[in-house]
Amino acid sequence: MSLITTLARMEAVRDGRARPVATVLHRHLSDRPLAFVPLTTAGEAGAPLGALVGTDRDTPRLLVVPQPRNRDLRFAFLADLAEEMLPYLDSYADDVELEERKETDPETGKKVPVQVELCADAPQLLVPSAAGVAFVRLLGRSMRFRRTADQDPDTPFPAPARVPLLGRWLTHYGERSRVPGSSLLLSLTELLGRHWATGQSNLEDQHLGSLLAWIDPPEGFPGAEAALRAESARDADGQLLCPPAGPATDPAFDNKLLAPAIARYDAARAEVLGGVAGGEARLRLAENELRELIASQLRPTWDALWHGVDRLRGLPRGERVAERWKRDRWSFTGHRDRVRAGEPPQPKRDDAVTAAQKLSARETAQAQLEAQEALDDPLVMAGRRLAGEAFAGEVTEVEMAWSEAKVPRPRPLVTVRTEDRPHLEGEVKLYRVMADGRTQTGEFAGAQAPGALVVRLTGGMGRGKTPEPGSVPEPGDRMCWTLFEHAPRGGPELPDAESTPWTHGGPPDAVALGPDPDPVTEEDYL
């Protein structure tokens, strides 16, 4: 945590409400995101208990698994989820624009421009918390290797038709969320935490209710009190007033309300199977009771999620967010193409080359995100300036100079008066954004006096002997130089999977086609 963020947290303590740590919105927020609030059964892996899902905050679809240990009911839940999510994902698949991309021609080996499709917009998935993101990954993993009866008639417990497909999409979204700055799958706690500092610790911010209580405390309540209420206030029955944002449920809810309701459901089901008169009605009653119980835990989180979305929409958008969103659109389009081409689901473990590629892509994305956030937001830049990675100030003097080459190039010397203390050593490279949005490069050329730094401009002035008009600052101009690149690039290209070096296990086995489905036993759940 930087000192500026620490300070913001302390201001929040003083003011009793959250303080901004960003002046613009640093992530893409769709106009029509799909919100997904899942709940899971305690102690079971991938046994969902229920969910609210939908694009309309007023009419979410409630999905419930009345007995999470029943495989058929779980499959019905997943089928319903696929029915809700896949049409949403599909609705973005066909609205495309054409982009030009360089591809290697297989015959000549030369790079030639080709026209490729890029989806004009991409679907966005919002979950309440970081645990929700992890649950999306887990759901994806649990579904994508399932076999349907169509794929394999002999499969012991066939999954409903579109469930494996949803598994692949959720896996893709879960994987993409690990790329810094990506916005296909976002959690509200992460989004809000990026833009506001509360008067509590990072750990406590993981609770969506408590985070929102600091950001929007109710009238007359200081944030700390409202957050405490959101965290731990219970009704006369011992139930939390603000249920946890999931996917884990509150143990008190499980033990006091859910377990008896599931027991009643089981009893009614046994009656129906035993042919007891009136069993059907009791089963319906028990199921409705469960639906209401689970909805009571989901609805507050659903509302909190949209409340957070409203707050975020109030922020002006960061200038470079669209550039990052375009990469998300590429990612969505790429997966759409893989699904359409009938490729198998993502493997359980990446091969060496894919893993290295992902890592390097994430490192590049991290560097780009850090640079872009700083350029978009003076408050983030303030943090970089404090850290000595940038400096801002007023131009006091400009002295024209030229390089000593056969064709001399303009190399003006600009003196900037600043109170910042950048870590400048030698002829370190410097970057700034010019009025037209291009990046100008320069290098450090010494300090005239303490706080008067001389920068030699090295680029962005055109090709001629005299700099293009407007490309050299004038005394009185305010400017901000950074020591970091504005558009950092990744490292060298990695080899194809077929030429994986032996140090990394050699080329992947050609035989290992398609992953085996997970082992299933008569009752997977204990």
Binding site: M1, G43, L138, E204, A382, E419, T521, D524
Partner: protein, 372 residues
């Protein structure tokens, strides 16, 4: 005190309050409720059932699955346990001391036998701040070569060979406490063991524990070895650092008690909350937000910590860059004090002032092109 509590205590060795209350066996949950600051602790019965039934399933065949998994993961070329070749000594005894003694005896016999043996829920003891704590690992396996392995059975899933790192970390810390306690037993067994074969075989506790979890989404067990050397040395060091409980107790005002004075129904607390608060406040706590996940009393300590404005309530790392400033109020005062921008000689204060000035500048002109 169980291993989980011990691991948590070892994670925050500076907390005298926790050391004293745990050492005295005070029910911190009940105390927190009486103070009106109960934390959301508790286990769902679903998780509890699954945990128990998974453990029962794994142990159903008298240790053969567990020793087979252990042997497979070790890959050390030793002979695999034969079917029916795993001893499972009876460990029933009266009281924790009795069970501990019985466990030590069984360990000595199994070690001497030179066969695979599985001790199901043994009991070992560890000296914590001057008083004994009794611990019950899920299982301990004795190898034919005389070494011992701690087995930790957990019901969170291991999907594609990896599990939630936070949960694995907690399990490793817990297992390290068991390994530490076993090392004490091993030292005694080593001393007492008359060398019958005439060949010295040092009794040792392996520093890799076997973590057994459900595989993927099934109920079939899978396992991985987890190296706990680091956790072991941390726990050993932290436990050594714990102030002796007698010393903490000696510093208390005369007559301090944490008795809730329960009424005859055994639930209603009749002791006034102010009295209890005073008693609890008589011992120092070292609150950090991490406590919220590990200590029942954390909500109370957090409230006290915030009331005094301690900067640690915002995170353990916050203190580091603030020098001698320990309260939120003093930090804000130092940061916002108007001076001529002269350096104060205190680097922490200078950095704070610069941070405050930069922050104010950026907030005053949102969207302004301060960076062009």
């Amino acid at each position: 005190m169980d291993a989980r509590a011990l691991a948590a205590l070892a994670a925050n060795p500076g907390c005298r309050r926790r050391a004293l209350l745990d050492g005295a066996g005070v029910d911190k949950g009940a105390l927190a409720r009486a103070l009106g600051a109960s934390a959301n602790f508790g286990q769902s019965q679903f998780a509890h059932q699954r945990g128990n039934s998974f453990e029962a399933r794994v142990k159903a065949d008298r240790g053969e699955t567990l020793t087979r998994l252990l042997h497979e993961r070790l890959r050390d070329g030793s002979p695999a346990p034969e079917p029916g070749g795993v001893d499972t000594p009876d460990l029933t005894a009266v009281g924790p001391q009795g069970r501990t003694a019985r466990t030590a005896l069984a360990l000595r016999e199994a070690t001497a036998a030179g066969r695979w043996a599985l001790l199901d829920h043994p009991m070992v003891s560890l000296d914590v701040a001057g008083s004994p704590a009794f611990l019950e690992p899920d299982a301990v396996v004795v190898h034919p070569d005389g070494s011992w392995s701690v087995i930790e059975i957990k019901s969170f899933p291991m999907v594609d060979g990896s599990a939630d790192p936070a949960k694995v970390g907690a399990a490793a810390r817990q297992a390290a406490v068991y390994a530490l306690a076993l090392e004490r037993v091993a030292a005694r067994v080593g001393e007492l063991k008359p060398d019958s074969v005439g060949e010295a075989r040092a009794v040792r506790v392996r520093h890799q524990v076997l973590l057994v979890c459900p595989k993927d989404f099934s109920n079939l067990p899978t396992a991985e070895l987890v190296d706990v050397r680091k956790q072991l040395s941390v726990t050993r060091r932290q436990l050594a650092r714990l102030t002796r409980i007698e010393d903490i107790a000696a510093a208390l005002p005369e007559g301090t008690t944490f008795d809730l004075r329960l009424a005859d129904d055994g639930r209603t607390v009749t002791r006034p909350a102010e009295e209890l608060t005073a008693a609890v406040d008589a011992v120092d706590a070292a609150y950090a937000p991490e406590c919220l996940a590990a200590c029942e009393l954390a909500v109370h300590c957090r409230a006290r910590s915030r009331a005094t404005g301690a900067v640690e309530s915002l995170g353990r790392g916050v203190r580091g860059e603030l020098g001698g400033l320990t309260t939120v109020e003093s930090v804000l005062a130092a940061a916002l004090e108007r001076t001529g921008g002269e350096p104060t000689g205190d680097p922490a204060v200078d950095a704070l002032r610069r941070a405050a000035a930069l922050r104010a500048e950026a907030l005053a002109a949102p969207g302004a092109v301060a960076c062009r």
